[in-house]
Amino acid sequence: MSIIVNLDVMMAKRKMSLNELSEKVDVTPANLSILKTGKAKAIRFSTLEAICEVLECQPGDILEFEK
């Protein structure tokens, strides 16, 4: 997959655990884990918005395109 999810990098930068993030964005830890490990097929704008808001970042900080 050429879209890379850098959620773990941003979480490390903000020193936030998966459980803490899941509580704040209201997504189950299991689903956040799927997203973090790159197994997700798609991400909803609403989820992306919530993650960006909690981690105080841009969508581009979480998603990256690699050729």
Binding site: N31, I34, A40, A42, I43, R44, T47
Partner: protein
């Protein structure tokens, strides 16, 4: 989901009633008929041959008044379209040829196969309905089970057709009726074939839906 569970329950109940009516009652009737024939054989020192569920077609269009209406005593015409025939002959007077014995064995094995296949399909069907009631619809195991039922119906149709064909062949070798022809015309069991194909088609739709669900589960 409540509506779905109610429909599943209704389907299960209807199916069990249908099985009771078509299979259990038929078995009981068959048992009574077999008992009657066996008693007749013993009492008269005879041997019999059975040909069940034969399709009959009249040789002519002429209507014969061959029955009576007990209610008003008026004669009426009984036109059978399906009948079971039983022939009787003296003991040890009818020597079966090797071909006849072979066909009898194949026919018996097919009968056994139909019975086993039917009960297997029945068990799988009940398992599916019970899993539906637990809301396990878009699951791989459900798709596999429905596939088994679809293929089961096709196999049942094929075996019934061959069995019916052999029965008609054996009946035509042994019997010639004055007014009716024992017909090959309806030996193919289209009901089972159509049912099997419809189930397989619906299962393919379920397979596609399960694929969509899997993808949907990976959208965060």
């Amino acid at each position: 989901m409540k509506r779905f569970k109610i429909l599943c329950t209704l389907l299960l109940v209807s199916f069990l009633v249908a099985v009771f009516q078509d299979t259990v009652m038929s078995f009981v009737e068959g048992f009574h008929m077999g008992y009657g024939i066996a008693s007749f054989e013993i009492d008269n020192d005879l041997e019999s041959e059975h040909f069940t569920s034969l399709k009959l077609t009249p040789k002519t269009d002429a209507i014969a008044l061959n029955e009576d209406n007990v209610k008003d005593g008026a004669p009426l015409s009984l036109i059978p379209s399906e009948a079971s025939l039983v022939t009787f002959h003296m003991k040890d007077t009818h020597e079966k040829t090797t071909g006849e014995v072979l066909i009898s064995i194949i026919s018996g094995l097919l009968n056994l196969g139909i019975l086993i296949c039917f009960f297997y399909v029945l068990v799988v069907f009940i398992k599916i309905i019970l899993s539906f009631r637990r809301s396990e619809v878009f699951e791989e195991v459900t798709i596999k089970r429905i596939n088994i039922i679809g293929i089961g119906f096709l196999v049942l149709g094929a075996m019934s057709t061959v069995w019916q064909g052999l029965t008609v062949y054996m009946a035509r070798q042994a019997i010639e009726l004055a007014d009716y022809t024992i017909s090959y015309s309806k030996i193919i069991d289209w009901d089972d074939f159509v049912m099997g194909l419809v189930i397989l088609l619906m299962n393919e739709i379920l397979r596609i839906a399960t694929g969509y669900k899997k993808e949907q589960d990976l959208i965060i």
